[in-house]
């Protein structure tokens, strides 16, 4: 008998689980750029971002997720950055955001 598809499924949990996430890569990135931890989530980088104004690219969310060990899709996402560097001009904490893009590309290449 053929299985009828009623359209029901099981949703994968959306929660960030810091018990199961592999934080080694995140620790690596923070160790190379400790200033990244000083981010206060103001959103200046995203507000000034050329790519963010044309696509749904959100740099603040992206690097915060990576710090929490959420790497999936991050490498592809970072490809949207055009390296214009405007985010670095506006960051009130003086984080080298452009350098961070390059660091993330280097570290997340294998994901």
């Amino acid at each position: 008998m053929a299985v009828t598809n009623f359209g029901y499924g099981i949703n994968r949990p959306r929660a960030i689980d810091l018990d199961t996430n592999d934080l080694r890569k995140s620790r690596d990135i923070i160790a190379e750029m400790p200033e990244l931890q000083t981010c206060i989530g103001c959103g200046s980088c995203t507000a000034s971002c050329t790519a963010g104004n044309l696509t749904d690219f959100n740099f603040r969310k992206l690097h915060t997720s990576v710090r929490r060990g959420e790497y999936k899709g991050a490498y592809e996402e970072i490809g949207k950055c055009m390296l214009c560097g405007k985010c670095r001009l506006v960051c009130p904490r003086g984080i080298n955001t452009r350098g961070l893009v390059m660091l993330l590309k280097r570290k997340l290449g294998d994901f």
Binding site: L18, G41, R68, E70
Partner: protein, 341 residues
């Protein structure tokens, strides 16, 4: 003729006000509920933002109180305040020419936020418990082992309608940053996560310390309030929050959960205010005459305030305010007794 001032409360505010009055030739008397002077600062380990041992500040003050032979009534509860003196629970009245209310605050009782499991789970402690542990020289889990993952929750009993505490307790944010750094110094390989709603770094050097905690000590700051804590079978604490900066729920298990408890107004404030004609602010603290030039004056002539009786304050603010209170009392006595001195 010597002018006498009775000070209600023998904590930092009361003691410092007494010394300032004494140096102006006024005779202070301290009435303290506890059997010892010192108030909330007694037993504290180190002070933000400079990590100064609390004893380095408190001890010289206490020694001067002794050396100046300031009269102290210890273990005495004040049940009535008027501009000409105070009434003790025994019914005895202590008469004076002016009164200073330096009754401070009451710590928020963390049991009231039952969802965090204080008193239920072994490894949920308050910021005050942690301070006492550090002062005792050993920070450890209930089973004696070292924590490897610690969460610090800001705003427990502050800015929370659910427990009737709408106000910000002011000093917990910087205390959380200070304690996170101290924990990282004790356990360099441990991960420390601070869960916050807002970070309020209002004082000199505070923002710099926050930054140091992030950059030098790698303390993780997560913007989001922990919604609940539960104990796992091996006595760890499972917590849930939203990581609001990524817009996703977050959960994790920690070895120790530290609750940054806020400063509440004393429960007796209402009773004391009603009897003496003073009024209270909506948050239950005593209401000052005004917010600018009368911050230590009350609506009643002859009754003054010092320290956290009027609002949450840091120790530095409290000690500074004591000088102002003494100066206002002095001014009041000179106007009232023009022939004095």
């Amino acid at each position: 003729m010597v002018k006498r001032v009775v000070i209600v409360g023998g904590g930092a505010a009361g003691m410092q006000t007494a010394l300032e009055l004494k140096s102006r030739g006024i005779e202070p008397m301290i009435v303290e509920r506890d059997i010892e002077l010192g108030g909330k600062v007694r037993g504290w380990h180190k002070l933000f933002p400079s990590f100064t041992p609390a004893g380095d500040v408190l001890k010289p003050i206490a020694e001067r109180i002794k050396a100046e032979r300031i009269r102290c009534f210890l273990g005495q509860d004040v049940v009535g305040i008027a501009s000409d003196g105070v009434t003790l629970r025994s019914g005895e009245r202590i008469l004076a020419d002016a009164v200073v209310i330096a009754t401070g605050f009451t710590l928020f009782d963390a049991h009231r936020k039952q969802e965090y499991g204080y008193g239920l789970y072994d490894n949920v402690i308050t910021s005050v418990d942690l301070e006492r542990m550090m002062n005792g020289g050993k920070v450890m889990l209930a089973d004696g082992s070292e924590p490897r993952r610690i969460a610090i929750l800001h705003c427990v009993g502050s800015r929370d309608e659910k427990v009737g505490q709408r106000h910000c307790s002011k000093v917990c944010c910087i205390t959380g940053v200070k304690q996170a750094i101290e924990l990282k110094q004790l356990f360099p390989t441990a991960d420390v996560f601070n869960f916050y709603m807002d970070i309020r770094m209002f004082g000199p050097g505070y923002e710099e310390l926050y930054r140091e905690a992030q950059e030098k000590y790698n303390v993780h700051f997560v913007r989001g309030r922990i919604s609940e804590a539960a104990e796992t079978i091996n006595k760890r604490i499972q917590i849930k929050a939203e990581d609001t900066l990524t817009g996703r729920p977050l959960r994790m298990t920690v070895d120790m959960l530290v609750l940054l408890v806020g400063m509440n107004a004393n429960y007796e404030n209402g009773d004391l205010a009603a009897k003496s004609g003073l009024s209270l602010a909506p948050n239950g603290y005593f209401m000052a005459q005004n917010s600018f030039l009368g911050t230590v004056c009350s609506e009643c002539e002859g009754i003054f305030f010092a320290g956290a009786a009027t609002a949450p304050k840091s120790l530095a603010d409290t000690l500074a305010e004591a000088s102002l209170t003494a100066s206002k009392v002095d001014e009041f006595l000179r106007n009232k007794f023009p022939s004095w001195q």
